[in-house]
Each structure stands twice: as structure tokens, then as C-alpha cells.
Subunit: 154 residues, 2 copies
DNA sequence: GAATTATGCTATAAGTCATAACAGTCCATC
DNA sequence: GATGGACTGTTATGACTTATAGCATAATTC
């Protein structure tokens, strides 16, 4: 046999190969997607040591900013469907980061535990730091950029 | 039993519920992701009648702009891993939209068929139209916006 | 010519997201 | 105060995307 274990030189290096023409490069949607994926992968790295997914972190952050909020409202705010929110909340409860209490017979109110609040502050600070770093490297007015993006997706 | 079949009033309306505070709204990464998802869902709608996924359409567009290009270069250009590109190309070959030919013993060259070229022009035009529509509704200089996004993700 | 690298392929696993259906609860209206 | 409709949470499931590991072959480099 030739190589035995790792491929090791799989993708990852952008060194080799011809540069191809791509009509996609001129599209706002494509550039948004690439830029989004770039920042998002930074956030994934920030979150990995805490064993949190992006969805879980979003949940912690929104619940932390809205103690006692309804689970259904969190779902709407984050555009996460009820069916997918349930296991997300379940995992955070299992880690004692979130507690829930019934509001009425059907609605649940969510609140961070002490531990959850500490974690939320920690990751929010790191995420904001990572985000600022990306924003500061742009030579465009950050406020008008954010406003423009808000026009696309309110 | 009460309701029998459709939930019908599941998510989809943003009417009800309290508006929650979200620290995420100030993050560039989060706004980029939302804006990206918004435009991307338009593109998915454009592509649905043609029975094409976003990945498949990207493949057609890049191969159409680079007849005879190497499959490996396409993968790098679109940041699609080899292992995932294979079935993508396979489906396009099965629909007679793409043909391949060996360059050397390992590399493949990809080219659109007549039918593939016609389809590529069609969807590229529609995607560009949808993209322009989104861009024109922004009150920010489109060129500096694209340049800024390119700074984030070259 | 031997080791390394490149390319394509297969199989598989993980993660995200959407849909359907169900059960319990609230509410408005009659 | 009963009843039908709407809201909420839950479960189960399937589709789709992406990542990883390994294999086979061919090119490259020394």
C-alpha cells in the first residue's frame, strides 16, 4: 500500500489549480453567503471550546437578554421552528444552563441559571469581539452597512 | 379528536408574540446570515421549477463560464469538497446537462451540453434579475458594498 | 524507481431544517 | 357553559447539506 492513514493534503490549501471565472462573484447573494459563512466559521471556532452549537449559543443569548421569555417567542425571534427548538432547549436544560417554568397550561417561560448566565456573558463577549474585529477591517461605514443589511432582512 | 389534519397556522406569520431584545441584531455576522438566507431563499424559489438545487445551479454556472475546466478546480472555486462534488456532477450527467472527458489519468474536464448551456443561460439570467432587484432596493452604494463583502471573504 | 502529492470515488456520519401528527390548553362566541 | 378554533410544546421522521475516512489510480518529484 502507498499512503496508509491520513489524506492530510486533502482540501484546505487554496494553492493549486487554475483560477476560474465565476459569474457568481458579482452577485450580492453569493457574496453575502460567502461573507456570512466566513464570519460564522469564526463563531463556530469561538464556540467549540464551550461545546455549543450556533443555535444553542443563540438560544442562550436571547434568553439571557429576556429572562422569563416564552419559548414560542424565542422561536420566532430566532426563526427556529417549534419542533426544532424543543431538543435545543432540552440540551440546555440537561446542562443546567436553562430552567423553564410553566406560564399557563401550554406556554413555557425560559430563564438562564447562574451557570447559564455566566456562560452567556462569556460567549457573548467573545462573539462580539470576533464580530468587531471583522467589522473594523472594512473600509465602509459600519452603520450604513448594518442598515443596508437590515433592509434586506428586517 | 380535535384538529384532524393540517396545523395550518404553524409558523409563517410573524404576527403574534412579544418582540424580544436580541443582542444578536447588532452583530454583522448575524445580519449577514439573515440577509444571505433571505436572498438565498429567493434563489431557491427561482430554481425550484427547474428542479435544481443551489449547488447544482452553481455547478452549471461555473462550468458554463469555464468550458473544459477541471472538476477539481470547480470544487475549489465553489468550495465544494471532492467527495461531495462527485454525486453533484453525476446528477448533472444523468440529466445530460454536463459531459466529462478525461484530461489525464486522474483529472476530468467538464463541459455543458447544448441543453445544459441553454438551462445555464436561463437560470443565470433569472438569478441575476432576482439579485439586481434586491440590490436596487438598498440605499447604499452597491459597489462599495460588494467590495466590503469581498474584503471579508475573498 | 520510490516517496509524495493529486484526483476522483465510495461509504458513512453528523448536523440542520422541514413536515406531519398528536395532546393539552386557552379563548372567543354563541 | 359548551364548543370550535387557535396556540404551544412534543415526538417522530425524512430530506438535504456537509464533513471525514479510506481506497485506487495516476502524476510528480527527487
Amino acid at each position: 500500500m502507498t499512503g496508509k492513514s491520513h489524506d492530510r493534503a486533502d482540501e484546505g490549501d487554496t494553492t493549486t489549480g487554475a483560477r476560474l471565472a465565476s459569474p457568481l462573484d458579482r452577485l450580492l447573494g453569493y457574496r453575502l453567503r460567502r461573507a456570512s459563512m466566513m464570519l460564522m466559521s469564526d463563531i463556530v471556532s469561538v464556540l467549540r471550546p464551550f461545546n455549543l452549537s450556533v443555535g444553542e449559543a443563540s438560544l442562550l443569548i436571547v434568553v439571557g437578554a429576556n429572562p422569563g421569555c416564552r419559548q414560542s417567542d424565542v422561536g420566532r425571534a430566532l426563526e427556529i421552528k417549534r419542533a426544532n427548538l424543543t431538543p435545543l432547549v432540552g440540551r440546555m436544560k440537561a446542562r443546567d444552563l436553562i430552567t423553564d417554568a410553566p406560564i399557563d397550561g401550554r406556554s413555557l417561560s425560559l430563564t438562564l441559571t447562574c451557570e447559564g448566565l455566566a456562560l452567556q456573558s462569556e460567549i457573548l463577549a467573545r462573539i462580539e469581539a470576533s464580530d468587531s474585529k471583522a467589522r473594523d477591517q472594512l473600509n465602509i461605514d459600519q452603520q450604513s452597512l448594518l442598515a443596508a443589511l437590515r433592509e434586506i432582512a428586517p
